[in-house]
């Protein structure tokens, strides 16, 4: 198993694409692979891609951007996601990713550093020990996948908004961008980042966050769909630019609020 300490280097994007394609029905797999081959690494970096290639696709994407705005208006910063008792926790909690469980990134806790950048006063990187020392809260909430299934889990960590204040983030900025060890990424809106239940998570079900759930840190956002809850987060940037994300760049609705 390769050890991933920094971003994309070390990840074979070709293999990644093949793995993702294994989960697809035949015709879409062919389409996906063809598109992936023709556009190569560009698909990983740009916000516009295959869905945009025809007029219908463009119209659908325009409506999806409209839906982003509608969801931002519907988002109530004080509305809490329902919470549940311990007895409601789904066990075993499903593993879900665009790779197989065995291929989950393996991050070294001892050398791990969370890079904090963008519109923040204190750009220092954080060790895991420093992060663990932050005040922590536990939440038992429902994780909802864009596919429709859902599961109730228990996550413990520090509220993201407290951390953003601690590092002197510009809270009037529009977005927070998260970068993951293996190249996954997400951009979320600032109001959601400041929601009281948005959490930098270090523990799942009272245990140190296991590798399959995103060791050493995931971002738990119960007001957004599962794919907007990045795992193995190694970087956090406060920005006014929407940097998209792994699935967002592949046609999933950007806001994807619950």
């Amino acid at each position: 198993m390769r050890k991933i300490r920094k971003a994309i280097p070390g990840v074979d994007t070709g293999l990644l694409i093949k793995d993702a394609a294994k989960l697809l029905p035949d015709p879409s797999r062919r389409l996906f692979l063809r598109a992936a081959t023709s556009l190569g690494a560009i698909t990983f970096l740009t916000g516009c891609d295959i869905v945009d290639q025809d007029t219908a696709g463009k119209a659908l994407m325009a409506i999806s951007r409209f839906n982003d705005r509608v969801q931002a208006l519907l988002f109530n910063p004080n509305k809490l996601a329902p919470t549940y008792p311990e007895s409601a926790i789904t066990r075993p909690f499903p593993f879900n990713a665009y790779y197989y469980e065995d291929d989950a990134p393996e991050v070294e806790g001892e050398t791990y550093m969370l890079e904090v950048g963008g519109l923040v006063e204190n750009k220092k990187s954080w060790t895991l020990e420093e992060l663990y020392a932050l005040p922590q809260e536990k939440q038992i909430t429902r994780h909802i996948c864009i596919e429709g299934w859902s599961a109730i889990g228990s996550w413990t960590g520090t509220p993201l908004r407290d951390f953003l204040k601690r590092v002197g983030a510009d809270l009037t900025a529009k977005y927070v961008w998260f970068q993951c060890a293996e190249g996954y990424s997400n951009t979320i809106d600032m109001p959601t980042a400041l929601h009281p239940q948005s959490q930098m998570t270090f523990r799942f079900d009272n245990e140190i966050l296991p590798r399959k759930y995103g060791f050493p840190m995931k971002i738990r956002i119960p007001t957004k769909l599962g794919f907007k809850n990045p795992k193995h987060v190694i970087g956090m940037h406060v920005t006014n630019q929407n940097l998209g994300g792994y699935w967002e760049d592949r046609g999933y609705n950007w806001f994807s609020g619950s």
Partner: protein, 215 residues
């Protein structure tokens, strides 16, 4: 004039001649917009269902729409685009149906005894369709039923879409996970209605003409 319902409603009907308008313009326009919206919502919804089936079957991908990169993103884009068409068009239809009195005039009353009688007549092929402007009791029940199913499919859909922001609504359906089943069965009810509805429209072509040119 259908045999069982004639006397009860003769008074409030326009004279049934070939010249009388059976379906006013707003009914026809909203009907055909709804055809498009329903087609997209149902077939994209099936593709979304396939990503995480509730039961031991999936819908054959060939009868679904939404070829995105992963087969799901395209279906979601279609579903969350056509929802606006479906909801706005449906809201206009229901509002006009209530305000104009058409629903009350055409769909009420529904008496169980008449439903049973008309259903028997229909199944034995003795139900008259001479006057398309009057709905028999079975039609009334089905048309009212599909409007209710349409309302339920929207409200349960909103509960699935926004189970946090509209958690009170989702709670009405038993929470997010149960609302998915409600959404599925409301869709199934609509599809069952469509099978009967389309079959009968084909068997009584005059009814199709009336929905296109109004008479």
């Amino acid at each position: 004039m259908s045999s069982g319902t004639a006397d009860a409603r003769a008074a409030d009907l326009p004279v049934a001649s070939s010249a009388a308008v059976i379906h006013p313009g707003w009914v026809r326009v909203t009907h055909w917009i709804n055809v498009i919206a329903m087609f997209v919502m149902i077939t994209s919804g099936w593709r979304i269902y396939d990503a995480s089936p509730l039961f031991g079957f999936i819908f054959p991908p060939a009868i679904t729409i939404g070829d995105g990169l992963d087969g799901l993103s395209g279906a979601l884009l279609w579903h969350f685009a056509a929802m606006w068409l479906f909801v706005v068009n449906g809201a206009i239809y229901v509002t006009l149906g209530i305000v104009s009195g058409r629903f009350r005039r055409k769909l009420l009353p529904i008496r169980p005894a008449e439903v049973v009688r008309d259903l028997r007549a229909a199944l034995s092929g003795r139900l008259s369709h001479d006057d398309l402007s009057v709905y028999n009791s079975v039609q009334r029940l089905l048309y009212l039923g599909v409007i209710v199913a349409g309302v339920v499919v929207v409200l349960s859909g909103v509960s699935i879409w926004k189970p946090v922001q509209f958690q009170e609504l989702a709670a009405v359906f038993g929470g997010y996970a149960v609302a998915r089943y409600v959404h599925f069965f409301a869709m199934a009810a609509i599809v069952a209605f469509l099978l009967v509805h389309i079959t009968l429209a084909v068997l009584v072509p005059r009814s199709l003409r009336a929905m296109i040119i109004g008479r």
